[in-house]
Amino acid sequence: MKYVSPRQVIFPGDPVATSDESVEGAVYIDEGKYRASSIGLVEFRDNKIVVVPLEGSYRPKPGDVVIGYVTDVLASGWEVDVRAPLAAWLPVNEATAKYIDLEKTSLTSLLNVGDAVIAAVKDVDLTDEFPVMLTLREGERLGKIESGLVVELSPVKVPRVIGKKGTMITTISELGCDVIVGQNGRIWAKCPGPEAELALLQVIEKIDRESHVAGLTDRVRALIERYKGGGSARP
C-alpha cells in the first residue's frame, strides 16, 4: 500500500508505503513500513517509489568525480577538501605519472594550498587516516584547475544538473560553456564570456532552488533562450 502521491514533498518520519512495495532513496523501514529519512520529493519511476532527498551532504563513493581545494601539503601528498565528512587525500603517485624525487622536489611545485583540482575518488577506506583516496590518473579531464570558475550547489541536486539521461546538461551546454560537474556539488565551468558565465550561474541557482517544482527543464531552457536572444539572462 502506498501512502504518497507523485511529486509530494515529504518530511522525516512520514510513511511512504508498506514494506511489500518497491521503494528506493531516502527511506528506512520501521515496523513494516517504509518511512522517509529526510526531507524529500516523491517520484514514481516504473513500478518503484523513489524518495529523492531535497537536503543533504555529499557522501563519497569510489568512481565519483569531485572538485576539491588543497588544504595542506604533506610529505607524500596533499590533503584536499571535497565537502565530505571524511578527510580526503591525494598521494603523489596518484597525481602524476612522472617519477617525483621527494628529496629534491617540493610538492608545492605541483599543487599548493588553495589550488583547486578535479579528481576522482579512487577508494573509501575507513581504516585509513585519510579515508577518501583521490586520483588524477584514472579518468578523463582530471587535474589542477588553471582557469574558469567553480560554483557550488547542494550535493543532492547534482543529479538534477545532469538530468535524466543527461537532458539537463545537454540543455545547459547550449550556453557554450565547458562544464564539469563534481558529484560533491561543485561545478567547474569555462564560458566564452561573462554573459554566458552569468547565465550559467543563474541556471545553477535555479536548479538548486527550484528542483522540487515541476517543469524545471522548461524553465532552464527559457532562461537559456533569453540569454541567446538578448545577450542577457537577466529577467
Binding site: V9, F11, P12, G13, D14, P15, A26, Y28, D30, R35, S37, S38, I39, P53, L54, E55, G56, S57, R59, A84, P85, L86, A87, L126, E129, P131, V156, R209, E210, H212, V213, R219
Partner: protein, 245 residues
C-alpha cells in the same frame, strides 16, 4: 514553599489566561541562518530558541571520532540578554552543560548516526529569550535544524513540557509556572513513530497525574508538530509560488 506573585490558576484559567491544556503561541521558521547547513527558530510564547546544525563533517580532533558512527555534539546556551531579571552570566553553567547532554540524548535515537562513521554533527542552540520550557523549545528547534540540514533521521523530535500547578496538569509551562508550580515534566516525542525520546520529571506526582501528563504532552507535541510541518513546507511552497508567478 515559595508563594507565587500572582495566583497560578483561578477557575480553570492560568495566570496568562490559558486553559490548562493550551499551548502558548507557537511560531516556527526554518532556514534562518544561512551560514549553517540547517537551522530553525522556535518560539513557545516568549521562549525563543535558535538552532544551527553543521555537518556531518570531519571530526577534529581525530582521536575523539568513533569508528562506527558519527559523534553528535550539542551545545545549549542562554544568551546573556535572554533572562528577565538579572543578566545571565554567559559562561556555560552546570545547568546548561547538563541540558546540552540531555538534548543530545533526546536527539540521538532519531538520527542515523551509524551512516557517518568517524564524522561529527554539531548542533548549537541559543536561547534568545527565556520564559520557561527552554529545553523543549530547544529540542524542537534542534530537530528541525537537523531535518533542514538533510541529516538522515527517523522522525522529528518535538519537545513540550507539562507541569503540575495547584494539583492540575497543565501544558507548556511558562517561567512563572516553572518557578512556582509543583511539578515539571519535559517530554521529547517522535510524532510519526509515537515514541518518546526524552522524559524528565521533578516534583511529586501521583501515578494518575503522570499518566494524564504523558497524554497531554503527546497532544501538545502533535499540535506543535503541525506547526513544524507548516514551517518546513513554507520553505518549499514559497519557492513554488514564486515560480508559478
Amino acid at each position: 514553599m515559595k508563594q507565587p506573585p500572582v495566583p497560578l490558576l483561578v477557575e480553570g484559567r492560568r495566570a496568562d489566561g490559558r486553559a490548562p491544556d493550551q499551548m502558548r503561541d507557537v511560531r516556527i521558521s526554518v532556514g534562518v541562518i544561512s551560514n549553517a547547513d540547517g537551522s530553525a527558530m522556535v518560539s513557545y510564547g516568549n521562549t525563543t530558541a535558535v538552532a544551527a546544525v553543521y555537518g556531518p563533517r570531519e571530526m577534529h580532533p581525530r582521536h575523539l571520532s568513533l569508528p562506527d558512527k558519527a559523534v553528535m555534539r550539542v551545545r545549549y546556551h542562554m544568551a546573556p540578554f535572554s533572562t528577565k531579571d538579572e543578566r545571565k552570566n554567559p559562561a556555560p553553567s552546570r545547568r546548561e552543560i547538563e541540558i546540552s547532554k540531555v538534548l543530545r540524548e533526546a536527539l540521538e535515537p532519531a538520527i542515523f548516526l551509524e551512516q557517518f562513521p568517524r564524522s561529527r554533527i554539531d548542533v548549537f542552540v541559543e536561547i534568545v529569550q527565556a520564559d520557561g520550557s527552554t529545553r523543549v523549545a530547544s529540542l524542537t528547534a534542534a530537530s528541525l535544524a537537523l531535518a533542514d540540514a538533510g541529516v538522515p533521521m527517523r522522525d522529528l523530535v518535538i519537545g513540550v513540557s507539562v507541569g503540575l500547578v495547584n494539583g492540575v496538569v497543565v501544558l507548556d509551562l511558562n517561567g512563572l509556572e516553572d518557578n512556582y508550580g509543583e511539578g515539571d515534566m519535559p517530554v521529547g516525542y517522535m510524532p510519526n513513530l509515537g515514541r518518546i525520546t526524552l522524559l524528565q520529571l521533578d516534583g511529586a506526582w501521583s501515578r494518575d497525574k503522570f499518566a494524564e501528563a504523558v497524554k497531554l504532552a503527546v497532544k501538545g507535541a502533535e499540535y506543535v508538530y503541525g506547526k513544524a510541518r507548516e514551517a518546513l513546507k513554507a520553505k518549499y511552497f514559497e519557492i513554488a509560488e514564486e515560480v508559478a508567478k
